[in-house]
């Protein structure tokens, strides 16, 4: 057991077990407080103090111990985390949130993506955006929506809005599609923002599989997606930079370089993020990979209707 006595006379019962590679020096002020995460913002950047249940992420500081609920600010400097007069050493090296070590295999991505598209409608919560995946699945086969909110005007209007936004994104104006999705739907970081983070991840994977630099497209989507929700903005910027929470990273690595069973298992891990956040992210990712198949898939295999990534 490590020594937890950091300052004379004060015993801390928390240790930092992981710090993300996007945690930068600076001062941060408490933004929001939840059961497993305290979010601090500073200069548009995010630092989240999280429990081991949430785990490593690019902006996460994972604490082995109770979260300091009284803390109103924190400082990151000199390899330490200053918190209400206490200093916690940050472990080194930090959690690496990028996909740099992966050698993507196009054929594997094709197979894994196909399986994911087939399975996701059954795996994801009904309240999520998963209905956008071909609008198939057993509930639609039955002729109606299922789950809470059935037959209600708000749910119907939200579905229509999302469908139209996707129509624009993949078949009309990219800018109009992103703007419609931005901030749309349920959730603290609304479903549309999670979906767009998935779109950005897809652009990252497309770039890796096709060998073409997709950073300009990622920058453009992110620019259009930024709004007035600082949490969403922070997540969008991290996605633009190809930085991922460990569950999303594990899924993307498995999709690109592992078997279909592993990819599905990892997708299951992503689905556990938030109420529907993980499912919305996976929907945005999967739909983008499918619709923009013309940009990464081998020629002759592109299904009818697939397109390439628009430049604007």
């Amino acid at each position: 057991m490590s020594d937890t006595r950091l300052l004379p006379g004060r015993t801390l019962d928390v240790l930092v077990s992981s710090v993300g590679d996007a945690v930068r020096p600076g001062r941060y002020v408490l933004h929001s407080s939840f059961a497993s995460a305290l979010n601090f913002l500073g200069g548009g950047r995010l630092v989240s103090l999280v429990s081991p249940r949430v785990g490593p992420g690019p902006a996460n500081v994972v604490l082995d111990g109770p979260l300091p609920r009284g803390a109103s600010s924190l400082a990151v400097e000199g390899g330490g985390l200053g918190l209400d007069g206490r200093v916690l050493p940050l472990p080194s090296p930090p959690y690496r949130s990028t996909l740099d070590g992966v050698s993507p295999e196009r054929a594997r991505v094709e197979v894994n993506l196909r399986r994911l598209s087939e399975r996701l409608p059954a795996m994801a919560p009904v309240e999520s955006l998963v209905f956008l995946l071909g609008d198939g699945g057993p509930c639609e086969a039955g002729g109606g929506e299922v789950g809470p909110g059935r037959g209600q005007a708000w749910a119907r209007a939200a579905r229509d809005w999302m469908r139209r936004a996707c129509g624009e994104l993949f078949g009309g104006s990219l800018a109009a599609g992103v703007r419609m999705l931005r901030g749309a739907g349920r959730g603290l970081t609304p479903a549309g923002d999670d979906f767009l983070c998935g779109v950005l991840a897809a652009l990252d994977v497309v770039g890796r599989v096709s060998g073409r630099d997709r950073r300009p497209a990622r920058g453009e989507v992110c620019r259009l997606a930024l709004g007035g929700n600082p949490l969403s903005n922070a997540f969008l910027r991290l996605s633009r930079d190809g930085r991922y929470h460990h569950r999303h990273k594990g899924f993307l690595e498995a999709l690109m370089a592992d078997g279909e069973g592993a990819a599905l298992r990892r997708a299951g891990g992503v689905l556990g993020v938030g109420a529907t956040s993980g499912a919305d992210w996976l929907t945005g990712f999967t739909l983008s990979m499918e619709r923009w198949r013309g940009s990464w898939s081998s020629r002759g295999r592109c299904p009818k209707g697939s397109t390439t990534i628009p430049s604007r």
Partner: protein, 522 residues
């Protein structure tokens, strides 16, 4: 029609809370629609399209929370808005971690509760063994709820505990009842003189409930975790628990529950039972009854049979009478199946079991063997019956929804029904499916509102099949007691109303499912 809305500037609630608030508001009397969303332009456009846009929302920004309600009267809208406030406050309280003493270390916990002799450990698996060892060193018995503890650490902990006379329940021990206190996923049962040792979590819940519902009671119910009876651990805690119950003056009957233990462990149990001086009932699911009988215990094939035998012994009844009652019920189930079988469409022939409890999934497979030789599962009782893709059923399939592939990053299906509800619709859409078998587990830790969370999905599934010209039989059991917090009678009534063929036990539900498909296969 009245629309009411509130705008909360810069207030943050997690997504789970916001969705729960919207769902609960929609269920309020007189409420036609409700939404709890962030005040972005997109959401305001959606609210406008759905007729929920309030004039108050004009000044909102992306970081503000909007709550909108459409109700039939002004009064009902106001009531719903007040309810929204309550729900959001409750959500904040939960986020803040609640009230009461919250010690931040083991030392502080022991100081706050002097005399404590047991610790329940529920932390990430990689930390659980260290915490358990710290507790054992302080002389505490431990119950390790966590899973993903390395096998070698489990052996180390159990040897350490056994040498000091301390119980190590788990890892992956989901339930226990100690001195009448239900721990983790556990039911509220009568106290009595039947002691249980179980290496199967929902198995323990099923027998404890059946004992209680039969009028007998539980002295202690000890869980060991499923790996305890395998070769590597060697039954260390199963045997320690058995010996403790044999010595316990308040325990008159001992009940053992497990999947088939390793032969070495079986031999050790046999030695421990020599000269036991108390009746012992054992159900080793899937093992030959002769094996159990050779140990000197009363053999049972199903969890219910084991529980009723133990209850009978406790209450002074003859085992033959208990078994006779079960046989008569099987005859009745066969008649019920005969009657139902006429209503299915051509091509309907398969049973699909969707289980929250792993033990129930195993028991259903064991029972179902009498009716069909090839029932597949993601947790098969025989390796050649492996369901290759857990997300897609093939033929007769029994799916343990508590398996890792379904629970990674999600609440257990005993708490969160969303995965199963989705799967119910998937199975109902399959033209070859005739029977769905489900389990519902009540008690502390389980879903607090099982009827309202499950019944709509069942109704939708049955309607989906009906629309396609088919009949879908839904067979289920509710594991629980009238003392459980969920109101067992109310849950059963709601499920019956949804068209469920309710059975008194998982084994009985499996028999009915098997009797139906046997007739469809003719």
């Amino acid at each position: 029609m009245v629309i009411k809305g509130t705008l909360s500037k810069g207030k943050y609630y997690d997504s789970v809370t916001l969705m729960a608030v919207a769902r609960k508001l929609s269920a309020c009397e007189g409420v036609l629609d409700a939404a709890a969303v962030m005040g972005t332009d997109s959401n305001k456009a959606i609210l406008k399209a759905s007729g929920l846009l309030s004039g108050r929302f004009a000044a909102s920004s992306d970081a503000d929370l909007l709550i909108a309600v459409k109700a039939s009267t002004e009064a009902l809208a106001s009531t719903a808005m007040a309810r929204a406030e309550e729900l959001l406050k409750a959500g904040k309280k939960k986020d803040a971690g609640g009230k009461g003493v919250r010690p931040r270390s083991l030392e502080a916990a022991l100081e706050s509760l002097p005399g404590a002799n047991m610790a329940v450990i529920s932390v990430a698996g990689k930390y659980a063994a260290d915490e358990a060892m710290a507790c054992l060193r302080r002389g505490l018995h431990v119950m390790i709820f966590s899973d993903n503890v390395p096998l070698e650490r489990e052996v180390e902990l159990k040897r350490f505990g056994a040498a000091r006379g301390l119980m190590v329940m788990g890892p992956d021990c989901g339930t226990a009842i100690i001195n009448g206190a239900p721990l983790a996923f556990a039911n509220v049962v009568r106290r009595g003189d039947i002691g249980v040792v179980s290496a199967a979590g929902t198995g323990l819940q099923e027998v404890a409930c059946a004992v209680s519902n039969a009028g007998a009671g539980i002295s202690q119910a000890l869980g060991t975790g499923g790996r305890d009876v395998k070769k590597d651990v060697g039954g260390i805690m199963f045997l320690q628990g058995l010996k403790a119950l044999l010595q316990d003056s308040r325990t008159k009957v001992v009940l053992l529950v497990s999947k088939p233990p390793h032969p070495d462990v079986v031999a050790k149990i046999g030695r421990a039972l020599r000269g036991a001086g108390k009746p012992v009932v054992a159900v080793f699911m899937g093992a030959e009854p002769e094996l159990v009988a050779s140990l000197g215990a009363f053999p049972a094939v199903t969890l219910e049979e084991a529980a009723l035998l133990a209850a009978g012994l406790s209450l002074g009844e003859k085992p033959g009478a208990v078994l006779g009652g079960l046989l008569r019920r099987q005859d009745e189930l066969a008649k019920t199946a005969e009657r139902l079988a006429a209503g299915f469409a051509k091509g309907q022939r398969y049973c699909r079991g969707l289980f929250c409890g792993g033990t129930f999934c195993a028991e259903a497979q064991v029972v179902f063997r009498r009716y069909a030789s090839r029932a597949r599962s993601n947790a098969p009782v025989a390796p050649f019956l492996d369901l290759r893709d857990s997300w897609k059923s093939v033929g007769h399939s029994f799916v343990d929804l508590g398996a890792d592939e379904f629970t990674q990053g999600r609440p257990h299906p005993m708490i969160d029904y969303s995965v199963r509800n989705r799967r119910i619709l998937q199975e109902a859409a399959d033209p070859e499916v005739a029977v769905l078998q489900l389990d519902v587990v009540l008690g502390h830790g389980s879903n607090p509102t099982p009827a309202s969370d499950l019944a709509p999905a069942i109704r939708d599934g049955v309607a989906l099949a009906k629309k396609a010209g088919r009949h879908l039989a839904v067979v289920a059991t509710v594991t629980g007691t009238d003392l459980d917090p969920q109101n067992k009678a109310g849950v059963e009534a709601a499920l019956r109303k949804a068209g469920v063929l309710l059975q008194p036990s998982n084994a009985s539900a499996s028999v009915l499912a098997g009797e139906i498909v046997r007739r469809l296969g003719r």
